[in-house]
Amino acid sequence: MFNVKISLFSHTKELEQKIDMLHDKIIEAAMVFKKAVDVYLKEKRSQDYRKLSKEIKTIEHDADVLRRDIENRLYSQNLIPDFRGNILELVENLDKVINEFDEVAHKFYIEQPAIPEKYHERFKELVGQVCECAENLAMASRTFFYDLSAVRDYSKKVYWLEHESDKTTASLKEGVFDSDMELAQKLQLNSFLTEVADIADLAENCIDQLLIYVIKRDI
């Protein structure tokens, strides 16, 4: 009747490393994406861009493997039982941010949108804001596992950057639709701008959740 099972100190170190690695993957994805967009704006679908796009795909794949492994271990080793669902949700949302980087990079590769040079600087600015937003999300999430009180500092940055990216996107869209471009090109650029901005939105949603977890964990 009594199956006494005490699983103490069970290989948590390995799982800690895997969660850390998932955060690393977000930062990696953001950095490579930024570089890839720079290359695209200069060279369009060049060999270099192809390499960078592949690199993002590999990062995305590694992140998926890590996510599955983390989820499995959390359940099989019965870790943080009261909070497991929330950690799972967090890990999945972090993975979605990486997926979005991959999707947008791939979309550039497939659709090869023609972005007029006059928008390049603003576009780079937008990508920079979005990538910084994702990096801060990774730092906030990593901090969540070590020091709850410091999560707030990074979350403020994420909110601010997301807001800035919204403003940049709006002004870019306005510029695009006020221009003499073909409607098809306008719509294509609009779709790209929306997808890039979505990365910051995903990061913001993730931070919203994270702050709720901080409150839950603090009681």
């Binding site: 006494v4 100190f9 948590t12 969660i19 039982p81 009261d82 596992f145 070590y146 009681i219």
Partner: protein, 356 residues
């Protein structure tokens, strides 16, 4: 062996069973409620350590109950225990978390009243003071421990997963210590009234195991508590952790630690001797309620967090329960003794001859 003794003892065992069913929740309720420890694990650990505590550490507080009222016949002891057990059972059915100590003290005073024995009010005062002091002390201890643990975690910047492992280990270790303290402290509530009339003999096995007649009695009581834990505490254990305040595992650990500290302070003869030997004020060795300690500790944590998450309705009912439990036990015992003596012709009181 006098079998009538075993019959009368059955009410004590019933009381032990109800203590196991109710008070086990105080030891592992928060751990099971936060899903940190499985119920089966909790039940086995609690059972083993309660028995050990009862047999090897249970002498200290019995003397206090003995001085409150010396129930000196078996039928009297039977009714005192039964009245307490019935009170606990009845109060539990109404959903109020009760204190076994209060029920038994109320019952003994009921016996005193019925037999015309004077209650030792200085002892009663001491016990009554702990009913007020124990939850307050537990609340204060919990707040202090909570701050200390939080500081430790912030300083060490421990990973959430590692923190989780340590908290789980802490819950199990502290739960075991609490179970030991509960056995040591509360066995007097269950078996204290049977000590005087216990027909057992001292027992030794190969000169390695030696049990006094009182330890044998306490072993029986401890086993009854263990049966209560295994058979009936599951629901209570599962709900106690979350009914009053939704807690994190760290808060759950704090509550259990605060409870262990308070039960230790009121049950350790060693600590009392140490404090006395250094001319310091000592804690009285009285059976304090683990329910009061755990509720006090939870309230302490809840108030520390601004009182937002506390269920004040349940808190109010618990406090009312603490007031009425001894009164109900007193009345039930008094009325039952009347029937036992006049309807069943049992001797519930033996006047003691004074040596002149």
């Amino acid at each position: 062996m006098d079998f009538s003794y075993l019959f009368f003892l059955s009410s004590g065992l019933f009381l032990g069973w109800s203590l196991g069913a109710n008070d086990a929740a105080n030891i592992f309720g928060t751990a099971v409620g936060t899903k940190m420890v499985r119920f089966n694990t909790a039940a086995v650990i609690a059972s083993i350590f309660i028995i050990l505590g009862a047999v090897f550490g249970g002498a200290g507080t019995t003397e206090t109950l003995d001085t409150l009222g010396s129930v000196n016949t078996l039928p009297g002891a039977f009714m005192v225990a039964l009245a307490a057990a019935v009170t606990i059972y009845w109060m539990s059915r109404t959903g109020v978390s009760v204190s076994t100590s209060q029920a038994i003290v109320g019952s003994i005073i009921g016996w005193n009243c019925y037999c015309g024995e004077s209650t030792n009010f200085s002892v009663f005062g001491k016990i009554f003071a702990t009913w007020v002091f124990c939850p307050l002390l537990a609340a204060g201890t919990a707040v202090l421990l909570y701050f200390l643990l939080h500081m430790l975690i912030r300083r060490t910047r421990m990973h959430l997963l590692r923190q989780d492992s340590y908290v789980r280990a802490g819950l199990i270790v502290m739960g075991a210590l609490c179970a030991y303290a509960l056995g040591a402290n509360n066995i007097a509530n269950i078996m204290g009234v049977f000590v005087e009339s216990a027909p057992f003999h001292d027992f030794s096995f190969n000169d390695t195991v030696y049990l006094t007649r009182i330890q044998i009695l306490f072993l029986l009581g401890g086993m009854a508590v263990a049966v209560g834990i295994v058979t009936y505490s599951h629901k209570v254990v599962s709900t106690v952790g979350n009914s009053l305040l939704k807690m994190t595992p760290l808060a759950a650990l704090t509550v259990v630690m605060a409870q262990a500290v308070v039960l230790f302070l009121f049950s350790s003869q060693g600590l009392q001797n140490f404090l006395h030997s250094h001319s310091l004020p000592a804690f009285p060795l009285v059976p304090v309620s683990s329910t009061q300690a755990v509720i006090g500790a939870i309230l302490g944590i809840g108030l520390l967090k601004g009182g937002r998450g506390l269920n004040w309705g349940i808190t109010g009912r618990i406090v009312v329960g603490w007031v009425v439990t001894p009164l109900i036990a007193l009345v039930v015992c008094f009325v039952s003794l009347f029937f036992l003596e006049n309807v069943f012709n049992q001797v519930v009181y033996r006047p003691e001859l004074m040596d002149l």
